[in-house]
């Protein structure tokens, strides 16, 4: 008897058995259904967090370096960073003069001030003073109007460009371009609106920001400030070379001796992505372990019911063996049965989790990864074979004389 015959006959018997015990099959399958739903939902959630993060990270701009007092991902005691000297505007000027591999340099400073338009007020807007170069050295894009011009920047004109959340807060029903907002106590005319960036960390994106010329900022809020310098590397330049050159320039500008350690950091998006990937990997591992447990419990349920099924059908196994079924035939028959129960559970799980993932998409933009469909099907098959094996093996080893006598 060839293998195909055995599979075909096994399938027929399996469907028979499942149909004959509908309620039992459904309850048994439930364990697998829940397991598959939790695994797929876990995968969907991780996909969502990942996407959200990619979105946030892109707000920093690829190939953009940030010269700052603090590192984004610190490995040492925070006080070391805190006690560093502030980064003055002069560093940005030195970079502009000496760096050969950079496209754009934009110093920027931030403060939180209330911003008003007529009756509406936004208490926690991030007021950012910067230059016209900023748009080339960040991940932001203008959606309406334009960014600061060189003249406005150099002349410290009272104009501003606002982020998407600022628009939502202050101008729910009207076009903000050309209107005047009060930043602190002074009025600024809006010349542009930025694209929404979303992201996990609202403060790092442009959404809550009001950009004004650096000169205006310094005049209004004081010039003794710690500056962040955004630097866009030239296209095609090796980022490590760029960093090396910048380090030299900055160290010289800050008068560091060769024996001194850097008292600044060159931050970049890549650093966050790497750190975050490690972070999601841990979440994924823990998540899949926990959801995997529910699959494991489901598998035990299948094993239990298969043992019952084997015992119930001892006589049938005896008959089949008496008229010529080999051990392998019986083994395959029961393995197919448990696999089908699990496979049905897996498919049902997918059918349930798909609409759930659409629902999740409303909260956290995500989608069920296509690979998880394949993985779920494979997992349920594996659970079926593994948990069915012991009962099937026991059935295949039954002595036909004893099995026939069983009532």
């Amino acid at each position: 008897m060839n293998f195909l015959f055995e599979i075909k006959e096994g399938l027929r018997i399996a469907f028979y058995a499942i149909r004959a015990n509908k309620m039992r099959s459904v309850l048994t399958t439930l364990g697998i259904v829940i397991g598959i739903v939790s695994v797929t939902m876990m995968a969907t959630a991780i996909e969502g967090v990942d996407r959200k993060f990619q979105e946030s990270a892109s707000a920093f701009g690829a190939n953009v370096l940030y010269v700052q007092k603090f590192p984004w991902v610190g490995h040492e005691d925070w006080s070391i960073y805190r006690n560093r000297r502030d980064i003055p505007l002069k560093v940005a000027e030195d970079i502009e003069q000496h760096a050969t591999m950079v496209e754009a340099v934009a110093a920027n400073v931030i403060t939180v001030r209330p911003t008003q338009f007529e009756e509406r007020n936004m208490k926690n807007a991030f007021i950012t003073g910067t230059t016209d170069q900023y748009i080339y050295a960040s991940g932001t894009n203008v959606s309406d109007g334009r960014f600061l011009s060189q003249e406005e920047s150099n002349g410290g004109r009272p104009v501003c460009v606002i982020g998407a959340n600022v628009v939502e807060n202050l101008f729910p029903n009207q076009d903000p371009i050309g209107k005047f907002v009060k930043v602190g106590s002074l009025p600024y005319q809006i010349i542009g609106v930025l694209e929404k960036q979303g992201g996990l960390f609202g403060i790092f994106t442009s959404d809550n920001r009001v950009y004004i010329p650096l000169k205006s900022f310094m005049n209004q809020f004081g010039s003794k400030r710690d500056v962040t310098i955004n630097i866009a590397a030239k296209k095609g330049a090796d980022i490590e070379d760029v960093k090396e050159e910048l380090r030299g320039i900055i160290r010289k500008s800050r008068g560091l001796k060769p024996s001194d350690a850097d008292d600044f950091n060159l931050n970049e998006q890549e650093l966050l992505v790497t750190t975050f990937s490690g972070f999601t990997a841990v979440i994924a591992a823990v998540g899949f372990f926990i959801t995997g447990l529910s699959l494991f419990v489901g598998g035990i349920g299948i094993m239990n019911i298969m043992f019952v099924s084997v015992t119930e059908r001892t006589k049938e196994i005896g008959i089949r063996k008496a008229i010529g079924a080999k051990r392998r035939t019986i083994l395959i028959q029961f393995l197919i049965e448990s696999s089908i129960i699990c496979l049905l559970g897996g498919l049902l799980g997918l059918i349930i989790s798909y609409p759930l993932s659409l629902l999740a998409d409303k909260i956290l933009p995500t989608a069920m990864p296509l690979s998880i469909v394949g993985i779920a099907i494979i997992i349920s098959l594996v659970v079926g074979v593994v948990s069915g094996f012991l009962p099937a093996y026991r059935a295949s080893r039954l002595n036909p004389v004893d099995a026939l006598r069983y009532e």
Binding site: M1, Y16, E316, R320, A322, I323, V401
Partner: protein, 236 residues
Amino acid sequence: MEIIKLQQIKKYYDMGGAEEVHALRGVDVNIGQNEYVAIMGPSGSGKSTLMNIIGCLDTPTTGLYEFNKVNVSDMNDDQLAKIRNKEIGFVFQTFNLLARSNALHNVELPLIYAGINKSERRKLAMQALEQVGLADRVMHKPNELSGGQRQRVAIARALVTSPSIILADEPTGNLDTKTGDEIMVLFEEIHKKGNTIILVTHEEYIAEHAKRIIRLRDGLVEIDEHVKRRKIMNGE
């Protein structure tokens, strides 16, 4: 030609500890082609054990068993399964049909295990069912059939692979006398067509249908005799 050759067949059952049950204590039996043999004996005589060994459901502890000149005493499970499938047709007292399958599928089952393709299978199964007079009941499940009809399905299943022997264990034990007689008529027909039949029974009345009776007692052959006044059943 000899189909079955048993030499000094012994079967011991280990009952745990030092206790051992000697079910068969040295049985010598030869059965030739187209014989019609009844194996008789009171309960505990070892006739069930002998039937299991002849039917390749079990192997002897010691002794030689040749089936069609092939030594089957030391065969493993799967080899025995193959012999059972191709060479032996079983008819049981309790019919032993698959309850959830119809008559046709029950008869087809040994052919499935023999790896015969579907159309051939169906043809052979239909022929066998016709032979036992159930051509109009093929789609019925066992619980929709009478006891006699069920046993006919079982006989069809035993015949369908054209085995070397038909091994019937108390085939009329669960039937009333009239139905039992009908089954014995069927066996007579099968025998006339050249089949070898081994009948295991404890009823003298049934055993007398055979041409030869082997009587067992305490695990040994007590008497091996030809039936002088054979009861020959025919349809009428």
